[in-house]
């Protein structure tokens, strides 16, 4: 004889029930594996790299052995790899901002209304196609006997093929290429919401075009810019395909490092530790972004 539930309460109950299958599946396929990965990261590796079973648990805890992989993961050589990944991701983000912002600006504020959707769709579609295939296409372009060199030679702009493949430049090109849509979309979303009357008001008050931009448009587009930077930076630090396919495998990035521990390094627990630290770093950045955004009253545009 409990009180009857109101319609909205019943709706809420049904809602909770709807969540159950999702929690089952995602919890089982995402959370659980991550937790298991966390568990393996505390074990020492065996001969072939698998986590080794612990025979003496109390000794394991007391001696501090359990933290061994995490202690290992911050050795200078690994920190150097992490630093390089961060640096590369940062440069990629900067370049994406430089190249992408004007495009978003154009679509949002200058392009005719009827074209906007098409232009935006065109900018975003490449994101959905296979990253691997698009990066491989760059190999055809950048090789010594590739399309770009062939074109430049044909136009007599150069007399010897430029070495573009297997360079840091090629890696940057690949990274920017892959991540550009991640910047264009959020920045567009921000700019699109801009109140046009503010722009008019600004020029009415005597500001130049450039002044209006830096004083009015840029600050108001900050949420989009921030979101774009976050969306570009995060996949950037976990990258490893681009440095192999376009960079001649000359550089080891965090992604390569993790993958390495699963193969020639024969140390899956260490790989797990580094992988989880990478995830934690990403999470921390996102939380910091969310807090900063909330504090400024910006919408968290993710």
């Amino acid at each position: 004889m409990g009180k009857t539930r109101s319609r909205s309460q019943r709706k809420g109950d049904r809602g909770t029930m709807l969540l159950l299958p999702t929690w089952l599946v995602l919890g089982g396929l995402l959370l659980l594996p991550l937790l298991i990965l966390l568990g393996t990261s505390f074990h020492p590796p065996d001969d072939v790299g698998n986590p080794q079973a612990i025979s003496n648990w109390s000794q394991f805890f007391h001696s501090g052995d359990w933290a061994h992989n995490y202690v290992q993961s911050v050795r200078p050589i690994y920190l150097r790899v992490a630093w390089r990944s961060l640096w590369l991701a940062a440069i990629t983000t900067g370049l994406c901002l430089l190249i992408g912002y004007p495009v978003s600006f154009y679509i949002a504020l200058i392009a005719p209304q009827r074209r906007k959707n098409l232009l935006l769709a065109l900018a975003v579609i490449p994101f959905w196609t296979s990253f691997l295939i698009r990066i491989s296409a760059w190999r055809i372009i950048l090789q010594d006997r590739g399309a770009l060199n062939a074109l430049l030679l044909h136009l007599h702009l150069i007399y010897e093929p430029l070495r573009l493949m297997d360079t840091p430049l090629a890696v940057l090109i690949g990274l920017v290429y892959g991540e550009l849509p991640f910047m264009i979309l959020p920045v567009y979303a921000s700019l699109e919401k801009l109140d046009r009357t503010l722009l008019e008001a600004s020029s009415d008050l005597g500001a130049s075009g450039r002044g209006t931009f830096w004083r009015v448009v840029w600050p108001l587009s900050m949420p989009g810019v921030a979101a774009g930077c976050v969306l570009v930076f995060i996949p950037g630090i976990g990258q490893f395909i681009v440095s192999d396919l376009l960079g001649g495998s000359r550089t080891m990035l965090l992604g390569n490092l993790v993958q390495n521990q699963y193969t020639s390094g024969r140390d899956k627990p260490l790989g797990a530790a580094i992988a989880l630290e990478l995830t934690a770093a990403v999470l921390a950045m996102l939380i910091a972004y969310a807090i900063a955004a909330k504090r400024r009253g910006m919408e968290v545009a993710l």
Binding site: D46, D47, V48, G49, N50, I77, Y78, R80, V81, R84, Q143, D144, R145, R163, M165, D166, G248, S249, R250, T251, M252, N256, L257, N260, Y262, T263, S264, G265, R266, D267, K268
Partner: protein, 342 residues
């Protein structure tokens, strides 16, 4: 509706328990290492469906086998991986009574250090790790690993993307064994490789032959089969060299994983490729040397007489097999990370 559902569940259950399909053989081997006609021939003879998945490094093979959940029936590990696989019970001892064609193998290749008595593996193909270079651009004849470290060829050098192989080169230049475990020596070798890093255009274990052939590099460190193909297609321009300091001989072997679902089919296949005609087809197809001496009469003379594929025995003095170096491989891997983090 309920019946359909039950049927689907049953099907799902069957598939997930990986019930041994007695008519299926799952092979996991190196890319481009098993000609299609050999596979088709086996299928025609036995009716067994063969699926072939490929890997490009021993370490990938090890990782998959070590996961314990990759149910391949036949794998092709290289020499130095076999001991760890045995220790971790990832491959099974072979019942040699089922391999009636075993006598076709050249005894000189049997009973190696990495698998005494061939308890777990049968030799498949073997070769050398040397270098090939562009004779037209590099006019002084090359006979040493030094050319890979010569600043004159900056940006025109390619090395295998393989820590053990690169260290082997450095260690041989130092007059040491490729299975050196002394940390001090390994650090010295790493220093040499670190200095080389700036000269190397790319580290590549897959299409080093094509990179050389296209002219992107002038010197390529690589395995002899693919490089020998490039040389034989263009003998005026390219040459393959076994440097005088010595280097790596390697041997790939066929093994049966512990997780195999269909060991019977595996044995049938192993015996099949030990037949002289089949072994010869493999050699003719991938242009690496076989340990099968009975096959020689079916191997194309062009390959049999190619000193890059079948080198004379005296050329191989000072050439060693890679051994498993146990815990030292972690040091090697760390040094490799350092080299690549510059």
């Amino acid at each position: 509706m309920k019946r359909v559902f039950a049927l689907l569940c049953l099907m799902g259950l069957m598939l997930t328990t990986g019930c041994a399909k007695k008519s299926e053989l799952r092979i996991y081997t190196w890319t481009d290492y098993l000609p299609q006609e050999v596979i088709d021939g086996f299928h025609q003879r036995t009716g067994i469906t063969v699926t072939v998945d490929t890997y490009d490094s021993n370490e990938t093979l090890m990782a998959k086998l070590a996961s314990g959940v990759a149910a391949y029936d036949l794998v092709v590990p290289s020499d130095y991986i076999i001991q760890p696989l045995i220790r971790q019970k990832l491959i099974v001892p072979l019942d040699k009574s089922r391999l009636t064609n075993l006598p076709n193998l050249d005894p000189a290749f049997l009973n190696q250090r990495f698998d005494p008595g061939n308890g777990y593996s049968i030799p498949y193909l073997w070769g050398t790790t040397g270098l090939a270079y562009d004779k037209k651009k590099i006019t002084t004849p090359v006979d040493s690993w030094d050319v890979l470290f010569d600043p004159q060829w900056t940006g025109k050098i390619l090395m295998l993307n393989d820590p053990r192989e690169c260290f082997a080169v450095a260690l041989k230049r130092m007059g040491k064994s490729i299975n050196e475990t002394d940390p001090a020596v390994l650090h010295q070798a790493a220093d040499m490789l670190k200095k080389q890093h700036a000269l190397v255009r790319a580290y590549n274990s897959e299409d080093y032959d094509k990179t050389l052939a296209s002219g992107d590099v002038l010197i390529a460190h690589g395995w002899n089969g693919q490089l020998a193909k490039v040389v034989s297609q263009n003998p005026d321009q390219f040459a393959y060299v076994l440097p005088k300091e010595g280097g790596t001989i390697w041997m790939d072997n066929v093994c049966i994983p512990t997780a195999a679902n269909n060991a019977d089919a595996a044995y049938l296949f192993m015996n099949y490729i030990l037949e002289p005609e089949q072994a010869a087809k493999i050699v003719n197809g991938v242009s690496y040397a076989s340990a099968n001496s009975a096959a020689k009469k079916f191997i194309s003379p062009k390959i049999l007489n190619d000193p890059n594929i079948y080198p004379a025995a005296d050329k191989l003095k000072g050439w060693e097999f890679l051994d498993d170096i146990g815990p030292t491989s972690r040091l090697v891997d760390d040094l490799w990370t350092e080299i690549k983090s510059q």
